[in-house]
Subunit: 496 residues, 2 copies
């Protein structure tokens, strides 16, 4: 067996475990009975441990190093795989096994502690765990590279090639240009469309509309399906098996519509990746940021456009004649772009959303620079959200305790949400140079948009880095100006 064949054989094993874990997770999030959790956690712990044992074994490490030292012998695609494998290995290989096990246990325990703390708005009961999680993450990042700012290492975990330097530039631009603009808009945001947004909408009819959207966005039903879950998500085991969930709320119509379209963005990306990468490390979307750019593009650039509602308001009226009778397509457009300074990130609108991310980035950056400690978090949080959006949490549940990410050890993840929206805007302008997006939407030809994205971006899976992809798709490096331009254009029009 050649070294490359050995690598493939080994990957096959890991892929089989991951395939199983993905389907078990899908099941657990969409239908598994409550009491199944005990057996499931035993079984998934076992399968995860097997992956960890393979990937930290001396044999595996030797193989990767040997491949790494002979990269010249291989083609570009395999070299990218080797580099990825080497980096993944380096990220864990220096962590002492007992520390790794302790950390996994800490993360496991912290879930319930965070949930309770959030429920009771009791930051004090979570603070100790949070500090330990932060300390471990700093330590692990330094094991990987003692000469790099730990937060830079973490940022790179979620978005290959991104550092504080680049994120600082991005968020500084938003701070300079967007914060004053948002404050301006918030003053003018007086059409609430409350009776349109929060009327009673039958779940059955909402389901019909979601099914309609799947077809309008040309989702391949033979290679995927839609279900429901508390937090909508998209999971895939291959481009031929991509599953999304949505969430139906009786008294808030936009929950299911925009969850469905958002997840359709993730799902379309995954469905359009070339199957040639299935058995390689280059399968799946390339990064969190690029993935989010696709979900946000479909959700906001398409789904919250005037052209979208001009095209689909008839279907909406057919399903909800009572609720919509005094409204026009333009009202739907405005209602779905209603801007409000809210405290909760996941409920935020397109315009204020990046403010929520900015504050989390500021905090993570200060934490890992040791400028603030976990003791300072609630007040730092509350001051920042007030600074950016002019609102202040009444308690920590609607402040520092609202997100699951930190309790799960995910630092450096949040910035990719805003980055994704900014990527989306830049891609949007590039696309408009080549195809008439508005016309395609009005002609119910979203398939043409899918095809463009497939050719320029989706098909490549993880075989190219986010930076390479942005260059390929937009013919220039990432530049936040498009995002600011897009938001200003759109919201100036809506709010004059």
């Amino acid at each position: 067996m050649t070294l490359q064949e050995k690598f493939r054989e080994n990957l096959k094993k890991v892929k089989a475990y991951q395939y199983a874990l993905t389907l078990i997770g899908w099941d657990s999030n969409t239908e598994a009975p409550r009491n199944s959790f005990k057996r499931r956690s035993e079984m998934t712990a076992y399968l995860s441990k097997e992956i960890f044992l393979i990937q930290t074994s001396k044999e595996y490490s030797n193989m990767i190093h040997e491949l790494y030292n002979h990269m010249d012998d291989y083609d570009d695609l395999f070299v990218r795989e080797i580099k990825k494998a080497k980096k993944d290995l380096d990220k864990i290989v220096n962590i002492p096994e007992d520390e790794f096990i302790e950390y996994r246990k800490l993360i496991n325990d912290s879930q319930i502690i965070w949930e309770d703390a959030k429920k009771n708005s009791d930051y004090g009961s979570f603070k100790g765990n949070l500090k330990k999680i932060i300390d471990y993450n700093r330590k692990f990042a330094l094991y990987y590279d003692k000469d790099t700012n730990p937060y830079d290492t973490m940022l790179d975990d979620y978005e290959e090639g991104m550092t504080t330097k680049e994120y600082d530039e991005f968020f500084d631009a938003l701070k300079k240009d967007l914060v004053p603009f948002v404050k301006d808009v918030l003053k003018k945001s007086n059409h609430q469309y409350k009776e349109l947004r929060n009327n009673h909408y039958s779940i059955e009819k909402q389901k019909e509309f979601s099914q309609y959207l799947l077809d309008e966005f040309a989702f391949n039903r033979k290679s995927g399906l839609i279900k429901e879950s508390v937090h909508p998500f998209t999971w895939n085991t291959s481009p031929e098996d991509v599953r999304l969930t949505t969430k139906y709320l009786e008294d808030y119509i936009f929950s299911s519509i925009y969850s469905t379209i958002h997840e359709l963005g993730h799902a379309t990306y995954e469905q359009q990746i070339s199957t040639e990468f299935d058995d390689t490390l280059l399968s799946g979307g390339t990064s969190m940021g690029i993935h989010e750019s696709q979900s946000r593009f479909y959700e906001n650039n398409i789904g919250r456009s005037l052209a979208f509602w001009q095209t689909h308001f008839n279907k909406f009226k057919e399903l909800f004649p009572e609720q919509s009778k005094t409204y026009q397509a333009e009202d739907m457009f405005k209602a779905s772009n209603h801007v409000e300074a809210s405290l909760i990130r996941i409920e935020a609108d397109e315009l204020t959303y990046p403010m929520h991310i900015m504050l989390r980035y500021d905090i993570e950056r200060m934490l890992f620079n040791q400028e603030i400690s976990v003791d300072d978090l609630p007040s730092v949080w509350n001051n920042l959200i007030e600074k950016y959006l002019g609102v202040r949490p009444k308690n920590d549940s609607e402040g520092v305790l609202q997100d699951v990410h930190w309790s799960d050890g995910m630092f450096g993840y949040f910035p990719t949400y805003a980055l994704g929206s900014a990527y989306a805007a830049q891609i949007y302008y590039a696309m408009k140079k080549e195809i008439d997006v508005e016309k395609m939407i009005k002609e119910r030809n979203i398939k043409a948009i899918n095809n463009w994205l497939k050719e320029k971006l989706h098909q490549f899976g993880s075989s190219k880095s986010p930076k390479e992809l942005m260059l390929l798709v937009t013919k220039e490096a990432f530049d936040p100006k498009y995002y600011i331009q897009y938001l200003k254009e759109k919201y100036s029009k809506i709010y004059n």
Copy 2:
């Protein structure tokens, strides 16, 4: 690590793979998108191969033999595990690897060939594969034990301890007593209740009735769920995760009702097994026959009783007022016990069902005694069904090609279906000596019946053999007389 700990550790790995395979199979049978099959078959083949490699490794074999040679050192439960493991090992260990792989491939290919043959009623196109499957099965049985009739080895695969000698006695008793009785009843079966059975019943209302049944039968929803599939089935990964499916037909009300109750029988058995067996070879129901006895007991002895319909006809009328308005509870009882000589096993009623099994047993026995060849099958089949039920297939699709079992290499499986019904009758009479079953049904207290079965049978999982269980539950060895008595009593009453 002691040998017992090593055994546990090894089993843990196998159980983790089996857990994954079970959930992947559940997904595949209930919702997976069509195009997912390719990736899934690669992944499941890999996971199955891993199990096979573990269970045929020299190391595993040595461990089992050493445990087997020192059984005196262990308690009864572990001794039963060792014996099971030893038998499972012996069944495969002498099969040359290339023959095993060829056989798996043959079975794989035969699925589609059988499907097509059935669709086109073209037995000739399937005959060659069938012959090879039979030859392999005979060969494999002889590898295991060259001094035993191969068919006896196969019968034992599906029902521990059963041989042709015992099945002959069972089926001879049916032939002698039941065949003439069935012919008698068929002559008198003139109330068809066609407009009750085959009216239009909305799927939504049928679903409501199935949900109602789940609660009436005290199904533990925290440890299970119901979905739909083409062929109803029950799968479980532990007593705390037991899932059943049912099948809704718009124009045949009894499909969903009796699929649901039948599967509830399997599911209740699995839910009531002690969790202490989870990590052992003694988890799950003990045999096909005992499992079928539980599904048949709930379906027929409870679900098709007069008391059942006297208790639940009100709910039925509430859901289907139009369809039921000219009928009484007794009509539902009679309609659900309508007897008809049919050609298709899976559509047969409770009374004629064992005739279908008898003929399959006759044929399997003759095949493996080499009294007939695959060339003779269609005519032997047609003659036998005519002899037992007085009907003759027009083509092989409704004759010898109707079942999937043989194309899948399952010989010796069919008899457990009839055996299960016979076990059920014997258990039913034993139960009636201790509790008033009819009263429990009328008081909507099926929970009391569940509890009786849990204490006497379910809790033990596979820790006892079918024969031990029958003795424990009914205080005597299995005797087919109860089955004949039960069917005669019930159908004499219905058909005078």
